[in-house]
């Protein structure tokens, strides 16, 4: 017995100047199904969603909603039809509370005035029915990334959508709490809501979805029941080649002690931190959200200041640190929030990639930037990273998430002075194929003699790529595991 079809897309083509983002895509979403969508960077997933939600219009092709042919000419039209989406990057108004953000655009009014009480009462009911425990009465600017995402999910669900699209929903939620989201998804599925679940995480896709559609290079190449698909098959369709190895071979390159912290504390969350990183070593940081990994990274890079203890680089103690001092000392950080902290929206690829080198390598007469050298350097970096782009003058905002991340990381790679690089969630929201490329990059860095601190919430990748692992809990390090002792359950026990 086949369920009714909610959304049907036929022969969809979407072109932009110079690029065909979607090439003859067929897709069918049934009522009450959780439909997984997976594909590499640039495969067309975001473009597809932008069309379904009314941000773009198709160049050619038809969309049928509940059996009727439609064109959504604006987000409002898609919203009215009952389609809601939670994006990869946050969409919230910082000074409004969680409840106000949840009802943004759909405020309940009484005699022309917004009825905050009624809104709050409905939000509380929604919270209770979904089992989500998040502060909804404070401005969202005060909430952590994971909490903000929950607010957005609640916003999407507050209007009882017929179709909910989730774009990398678990990218900023810790592994343990993915289950809560899944419970929510199961619940709304039982109520007849359809879900499009876009993710790169195989485990999740297989555990929550009914069917999976695989995209590659602007086309949908396969749709099948999740129960009949296997990870290898999915990867094969995604990248059209066999990926027998998920992680590169780990060859130890550790040499002398590079970084050492002694009883380090920041007077807030972090305390009694004693870690070491050797040159040529890849050290992982794992822990729950809020356990102190990113705080320590920012402390080591000089974004915040220490209150107690010492940081030693190559035996020398560093008194005060600032990001520019850190960089001078060869310590680099690639931030977690690549949208806000990693890239310059208004600069093109070329400028973004070469910006760390403007002074040293590209400085010409009176500080003018040497254009030819800039272009060569950018090409070199782009090639090293396997960047997928149209041309160097393209705006970085047009790139897919994975490619953006490549630039965020990649721009530092040509820095000969680099001694220690701290990567905060470098593979967040990136597909399997690109992830592998980044793992190779990380091991290559180690081979070059650079020390790498690899912060991640995906335990499998840490276990696959690192030489050693520090587990964080409540602001300090609770255990230090060498590769021989890597054990998934053990780590989880320490972290929780």
């Amino acid at each position: 017995m086949k369920a009714a079809v909610l959304l049907e897309i036929k022969n969809l083509i979407k072109s932009f100047p110079g690029i065909t983002a979607l090439n003859n895509v067929d897709l069918e979403i049934r009522e009450g199904e959780v439909h997984g969508v997976i594909g590499e960077n640039g495969a067309g997933k975001s473009t597809l969603c932008n069309i379904i939600t009314g941000i773009y219009q198709p160049t050619k092709g038809d969309i049928y909603w509940e059996g009727k042919k439609v064109t959504f000419k604006s987000p409002k039209e898609a919203l009215n039809a009952g389609i809601r989406m939670v994006y990869q990057e946050r969409n919230l108004v910082p000074s409004l509370t969680g409840a106000q953000n949840i009802y943004l655009g759909n405020e309940i009014t009484k005699k022309g005035r917004i009825d905050e009480k009624e809104i709050m009462s409905r939000v509380r009911k929604l919270q209770a029915s979904l089992g989500i425990d998040v502060k909804v009465d404070v401005p969202v600017s005060k909430l952590a990334t994971a909490e903000r995402q929950l607010i957005e999910i609640m916003r999407a669900l507050s209007q009882k959508p017929k179709l909910l699209i989730l774009d990398e929903p678990t990218s900023s939620i810790a592994e343990k709490d993915v289950q809560v989201l899944f419970q929510v998804i199961k619940k709304i599925k039982d109520e007849g809501t359809s879900v499009i679940f876009i993710s790169h995480k195989m485990e999740e896709i297989f555990s929550i979805t009914d069917r999976i559609s695989i995209f590659r290079d602007g086309q949908k190449v396969y749709t099948g029941d999740s129960s009949e698909l296997s990870e290898e098959l999915v990867i094969k369709h995604m990248i059209n080649r066999d990926l027998s190895q998920r992680y590169p071979t780990v060859i130890p390159h550790a040499k002398g002690k590079l970084l050492e912290t002694v009883d380090l504390g920041d007077g807030r969350l972090l305390h009694d931190i004693n870690i070491t990183v050797k040159a040529g070593e890849v050290v992982g940081f794992y822990g729950l959200v809020g356990s102190g990994r990113t705080e320590l990274a920012e402390l080591l890079f000089g974004l915040t200041s220490k209150k107690k203890g010492a940081i030693k680089l190559n035996g020398e103690e560093l008194e005060t640190l600032s990001p520019s001092l850190a960089i001078k000392n060869g310590v680099l950080l690639t931030p977690e929030d690549r949208k806000e902290h990693g890239l310059f929206d208004f600069f093109d690829i070329k400028k973004n990639a070469t910006i760390p080198y403007v002074k040293e390598k590209l400085g010409g007469f009176m500080g003018a930037i040497k254009a030819k050298e800039e272009k060569t350097l950018a090409q070199e970096i782009a090639e090293k990273l396997g960047l997928v782009y149209k041309n160097l003058k393209q705006s970085v905002t047009e790139l897919s998430g994975g490619n953006k991340q490549k630039i965020v990381i990649g721009k530092w790679l040509v820095n000969e002075n680099m001694k220690l690089i701290i990567m905060d969630e470098p593979t967040q929201g990136i597909d399997v194929g690109t992830k592998f490329e980044i793992y190779i990059l990380i091991r290559d860095l180690a081979k070059m003699g650079v020390g790498v601190i690899f912060i991640s919430s995906e335990l499998p990748e840490l276990l696959g790529v690192c030489d050693r692992l520090y587990v964080f809990k409540e602001g300090t390090v609770v255990t230090d595991l060498p590769r021989e002792k890597f054990d998934r359950e053990k780590v989880l026990r320490y972290a929780l």
């Binding site: 108004v93 709490d177 705080e295």
Partner: protein, 341 residues
């Protein structure tokens, strides 16, 4: 339950001293200045002087509120001062041509609204940055004003009944009409922004245009509403100016330009606690009053005429720097405490 989702930092996020200072600081400064001037110069603390202060604050306040409205949505309308003068000139000229008083006032306000709409059109449809578009409009309007008045001070021989109410009249013999208009406008604007849907969308648009787009807010419509409000406030200011000065002249409102700039931003931290400063009606209105107190006080103390400009300039620089520092601090704090780990 997601109780273990985020281990909240041990320290509570209560407002730090500097934020409290900025939050109520504007009010404190006002009170301090008032007390200071009263102590130095007894004439300051007379009811007639206080009324003068409030009168001066009213026009500046109304135009500041107009500019503030465009700043909230993320634009910047620098033509507001000249627009108000333009309205005043139109009114006087119409009266000189024996147009009915209320019709003249209405047409004057419509002119201001039209200019405001044109600014909006330039931003929305042509796509110019608001600062650039409104500077161009400002120059254009100055030229128009010059043309209309011939560079002279123009005034009618006879004023219709009721003309002087707005600028010089009193309600219940106690409060000047313009002050009432100013205060009521502030209250209405504050209410609109905080408690109505469109007001909320104005805030949302300014803080996060992307979010507004994704939740289906009609951004063009909200922009027009903001510029409409701005135009109405400018029209009111123009009416009061015409009524106060009784002459149409180029440059009547020029002296207000700096205080208006200051007031728009100085009030941004008012009552915001430890949040990001954001221009708001009450803060802007209060700042306008404080600036009027400052200007009046200096005159009372016989301070040299150029000092006023220096002081105002200093206050403007201080405000901009202070607000910037606060916003950066706030962003840095949020960035680290809100990161995943």
């Amino acid at each position: 339950m997601v109780s273990k989702l985020v281990e909240t930092p041990k320290e509570s996020k209560s407002a730090r001293p500097i934020e409290l200072l900025m939050s109520y600081g504007v009010l404190l400064i006002g009170i301090l200045l008032f007390v200071y001037f009263s102590a130095r110069q007894p004439m300051f603390y007379t009811s007639s002087n206080i009324l003068t202060i409030l009168r001066q604050a009213s026009v500046i306040g109304l135009i500041s509120l107009a500019m503030m409205t465009t700043v909230i949505i993320g634009d910047f309308d620098i033509s507001v001062t000249v627009n108000a003068n333009f309205c005043a000139i139109v009114i006087i000229l119409l009266i000189m041509n024996n147009v009915n008083l209320y019709l003249a006032l209405l047409i004057g306000m419509l002119c201001s609204i039209l200019v405001s709409f044109f600014n909006c059109f330039a931003v929305v449809t042509i796509g110019l940055p608001s600062f650039v578009a409104t500077i161009a409009v400002k120059f254009f309007l100055e030229g128009v004003c010059r043309g209309l008045t011939g560079g002279q001070q123009v005034y009618p021989d006879v004023f219709p009944d009721g003309f002087h109410t707005f600028g010089r009249g009193m309600i219940a013999d106690v409060i000047p009409v313009q002050v009432v208009i100013f205060l009521v406008s502030t209250a209405i604007l504050a209410y609109l922004i905080q408690y109505t849907r469109h007001g909320r969308y104005i805030t949302a648009l300014g803080e996060s245009p992307e979010t507004s787009f994704h939740v289906g807010i009609n951004i063009k419509k909200i922009r027009f509403i903001a510029y409409l409000i701005s135009g109405i406030l400018i029209g009111l200011a123009g009416i009061i100016t015409a009524s106060m000065y009784s002459v149409a002249s180029v440059g009547t409102t020029d002296g207000y330009a700096t205080p208006i700039l200051i007031a728009t931003f100085l009030g941004a931290s008012f009552l915001r606690g430890d949040q990001l400063p954001l221009p708001n009606p009450k803060g802007t209105a209060l700042s306008a009053v404080i600036l009027a107190i400052l200007a009046n006080g200096f005159t009372m103390l016989g301070v040299p005429f150029y000092s006023k400009q220096i002081i105002q300039g200093g206050v403007l620089v201080f405000t901009v720097i202070a607000v910037s520092i606060l916003m950066n601090r706030r962003r840095a704090i949020e960035a680290t405490t809100n990161s995943k780990a």
